[in-house]
Amino acid sequence: MNNLQLKNVSKHYRSKLALDNISCEFSVGIWGFLGPNGAGKSTLMNIIAGILKPDGESVVLYNETPVPQLGRSYRSVIGYMPQQQNVFRDFTGAQFLSYMAALKGIGSKAARVQISELLQRLELTDIAHRRISGYSGGMKQRILLAQALLGAPEILILDEPTAGVDPKQRVIIKNLIKEISEDKIILLSTHIVSDIEKLADRIVFLKDGRIVQQGAADELLAGTELESLYMRYFGDE
């Protein structure tokens, strides 16, 4: 069973402390991250995705091996969806997906099959040959999600996948994530509390770069609404 482990992970931006000595373990399942703006969610996800260097003493282990040692073999099992939307504006959706598929080292034939399937699932087929700069916010979000899903990665890092997406598409996305979540580690952050409620197996509350609470969703939610839980942790500011 795959597992991902953080030990004493900290991150300073110059003198600003964004993550404060975080240690925790992620096993297979969907992990929902909740926290106010600037809590450190994106920072943590970027560190896990291996694109942000944590402070010196931090350790990230995948199946007991430090991630930097794994190198390419770690990168080939992750799918990453950034929070920022303005990427590859000059490409068409299809070109963007092909480019990412090429970068992920997926064979040309397999890529074609996967791309057309993802385009279809996320209802992007009609606009696949238009330039991304002309996409609406929700379309950009979906093409970014499609990109993360290419190559069936074992670890999925989704930074606010449902932000700006209409209700119908949110349902589609949630179903898709749920469907593929078997034997994957899926980390997702969002401000839409109901998404976490429906999706997440476990919930992590982040504040000021620290984990203030985490646990299995059904335990945490027993008897309370998530919203009131959220207010309990973050509402006093």
Binding site: S98, Y99, L103
Partner: protein, 741 residues
């Protein structure tokens, strides 16, 4: 309102892109102004020295001195070529002087000496007799107005004549003086700044309107209280300030460069002191004239900027932009092509191009026929500028205040419903060459090189032509036959020389008239003109027979050109093109991604190692392609221009390579030369790649590459070996030559 205006100005001058643009404009102005060629046959130093000498003469002797020398050197020059000139006494004297050994004073050939004296003579005459010149114009006007062929008192012609007379009457009493004014003439002939100021103007409009529209900040601004009309007015003001700043910048560059090279102390003399400006109808000093020209240029640029500012507010800004470009081009074409006297004559001057060309249109008083009224061109230009400035400003402000300026990017992608192949190599090539326009760079480069190669002429001296004729004569001969041929020709020449001496003697003793002397001497000289070529031939024969039997007779002129031994710096020019293309293409290959894009790429399996390898691979291929674009046209011409026997001859056949030990042919040397160029293109590409990988941010990469790579080459092109001796040696074949010898 004022605050808004200052804020807009700050936007224009504080942003990174405008600053970089100002730098680019500055360096482009520097580059083009330095590249601007001195368009006279003699060097400036010779002219300056002559001016000095002339100024030290008493005023009444100057004219005579200049005229005499101009005639003399004209005679020498014609005689040297064996051309017949008038057979009077004076000419005969000059020929005799030539025969006794004539020398030049300021330059190194009779022709340049002649042009120097005759130009200066004209300049001196113009300034000396200026008041005479004006009264001539007035008298002629008087005379013409009396002639009835020019219609009745109210006809266009009559009015034109009296207007012209009135314009020049004002100038009575003006005293242009003879001085060293060549530098000022040079200053007024700068041609690149017209294009640069227009580019700057359109860029200003782009930053002010299109860029904000593109990024969406216009939408936020438009939604505010002052975000429509007031904002539009502020932007108009800011664009004007931008145009003025750029004009001043360009003028300053121009002045500094000219002052550094030439004497411009005559700048406060009346403009009429400059050769070519004798008919200028304005009582201005050169300094004032230049300021007015710059001001007109600035307003013309502003008009153009406002046109585009207006276009950028339109819904169909692409069609509008194309129309704007066509309108601008048409104005230039109208100025270049229309005849001022035709019925459309007014349109020759009713445009921005005429306003930009004030240094040309102001040279003389010209009128156009506007509904039977003569209107002078200056008035026409200024009217145009005022009308169109108001028109475009109003159009811009109204359109800006009233339209919805959303933005839809243009899509140039070929629409296909297929999912593109997920091959990394292919995708990167597609990204760089199609999406980012690298292919356009290649095509442009090819066009420029082809244009250059086609329009490139070899400069032939008389001796080169005669040498080629001799080569045709001896083509089929064996070496000993050639020896006989040379001997015969030498004998023929010494016979001619003897005849010439006899002729000189007869003339000096008064046995023949000057007329028949000139005729006979010219006929003999036309034969003797071949002698320098024979000397070359016989020297090459001596070298082949005594020192290097493997050498041959080759036609050196074109080979010298392609080996760049002719001081034309063509090779540096093509290196500059190559490097420019390399910077543009390789930069987009390795940099220009946003932080998010880089992150997205770097967390994929092949986003690190394999991508780097593939990019390096593409980098090398692009360098080769770019090299081919610059070298192929040249190679084709090289092969078609040179006889194959010349290319297969031993390298020692060329004087540059005498004493060389290696056993290689001229053709092979060319192969080595191109290989060296390919290697240097590859090296440059890898250097750019290295910079791109380490620095990442594209604007910084381009600035760095410009400083490290383009700047040295550009300065080598401008200043020759003194500027960057190392680069200069590397670029030239000196390296190869040194290696071989």
């Amino acid at each position: 309102m004022m605050k808004l205006f200052f804020y807009e100005i700050r936007k224009l001058f504080k942003g990174k892109a405008p600053l970089i643009f100002l730098l680019v404009i500055l360096s482009a102005a520097l580059f083009f102004d330095l590249r601007q060629e001195w368009d006279r046959y003699y060097p400036y130093e010779a002219y300056a020295k002559l001016c000095n000498d002339v100024l030290s003469l008493p005023e009444e002797e100057r004219e005579n001195y200049l005229k005499e020398n101009a005639d003399k050197y004209n005679a020498f020059y014609s005689f040297e070529l064996g051309m017949i000139s008038s057979d009077d006494e004076k000419n005969a004297q000059y020929i005799l002087q030539y025969e006794n050994g004539a020398e030049t004073i300021y330059t190194d050939s009779f022709f340049t000496e002649y042009s120097l004296f005759s130009d200066t003579y004209e300049q001196n005459t113009d300034t000396c007799h200026y008041s005479q010149h004006i009264s001539d114009i007035l008298a002629q006007a008087e005379k013409m107005s009396e002639l009835s062929v020019f219609g009745g008192k109210n006809s266009f012609e009559q009015k034109n004549i009296s207007d012209t007379a009135a314009a020049y009457k004002v100038l009575n009493g003006l005293t242009p003086r003879f001085a060293d004014t060549a530098g000022l003439n040079f200053l007024l002939s700068f041609s690149a700044d017209k294009l640069l100021i227009l580019t700057a103007a359109v860029f200003g409009a782009f930053v002010m309107v299109m860029d904000e529209r593109r990024t969406g900040s216009l939408r936020i601004e438009n939604a505010t209280k002052n975000g429509r009309t007031f904002l539009a007015l502020s932007k108009t003001g800011a664009v004007f300030v931008w145009c003025a700043a750029n004009s001043i910048l360009l003028l300053a560059v121009k002045l500094i460069i000219t002052a550094a090279r030439y004497d411009i102390s005559a700048i406060f003399l009346p403009i009429q002191s400059l050769s070519g400006f004798i008919n200028c109808p304005y009582a201005l000093s050169t300094a004032e004239y230049i300021v007015i020209a710059s001001a007109l240029g600035c307003i013309a640029a502003f008009v153009c900027a406002m046109l585009f500012a207006f276009v950028f507010t339109l819904k169909k800004y692409i069609i509008g932009g194309a129309a704007g470009v066509i309108f601008t081009v048409l104005q230039f074409a109208a100025y270049e092509r229309l005849d001022g006297l035709s019925s459309l004559g007014v349109f020759k001057y009713f445009n921005i191009s005429a306003a930009l060309h004030f240094s040309e249109t102001g040279m003389t008083f010209t009128t156009v026929n506007l509904f039977q009224e003569p209107v002078d061109t200056f008035t026409v230009s200024v009217t145009f500028l005022l009308i169109f400035a108001l028109l475009f400003c109003a159009a811009f402000v109204f359109s800006f205040a009233g339209s919805y300026m959303d933005f839809q990017g243009i899509s140039l992608n070929i629409r296909s419903s297929r999912i593109p192949s997920a091959n990394l190599f292919y995708r990167e090539v597609y990204r760089v060459f199609i999406t980012k326009g690298g292919l356009a760079v290649l095509i442009l480069l090819l066009c420029v090189t082809v244009y250059d190669v086609v329009n490139d002429d070899v400069h032939y001296e008389a001796v080169d032509g005669y040498y080629e004729l001799y080569l045709n004569d001896i083509e089929q001969m064996t070496l000993s036959e050639t020896a006989d041929f040379i001997k015969e020709e030498e004998k023929h020449f010494s016979d001619l020389q003897n005849k010439m001496s006899e002729l000189n003697e007869s003339y000096q003793n008064g046995k023949i008239t000057s007329g028949s002397y000139v005729t006979a001497a010219t006929i003999i000289q036309s034969e003797l003109a071949k002698r320098p070529a024979l000397r070359l031939l016989s020297e090459q024969y001596r070298y082949i027979s005594e020192e290097e039997p493997s050498a041959n007779f080759v036609y050196y002129k074109k080979i010298d050109k392609y080996m760049n031994f002719d001081n034309s710096k063509d090779d540096i020019k093509s290196s500059l093109y190559t490097q420019l293309a390399l910077v543009l293409v390789i930069c987009t290959l390795f940099s220009g991604f946003s932080v998010e894009e880089r992150r997205l790429i770097s967390c994929t399996a092949d986003g690190k190692g394999k991508l780097l390898i593939i990019r390096t691979y593409i980098c090398i291929l692009s360098a080769a392609a770019i090299f081919l674009c610059t070298a192929l046209p040249e190679m084709v011409v090289l092969l078609s221009h040179n006889r194959s026997s010349d290319l297969s001859a031993a390298l020692q056949s060329l004087t540059y390579f005498r004493g060389l030990n290696a056993n290689i042919s001229i053709g092979f040397y060319f192969v080595l030369m191109y290989l060296l160029r390919l290697a240097s293109a590859l090296f440059t590409a890898l250097l750019i790649a290295f910079i791109g990988i380490t620095v990442k941010e594209q604007k910084t990469v381009i600035v760095l590459c410009s400083v490290i790579i383009l700047l040295p080459t550009a300065s080598a092109l401008l200043f020759g070996p003194e500027a960057f001796p190392l680069i200069y040696e590397l670029e030239r074949n000196a390296l190869l030559r040194r290696f071989l010898i």
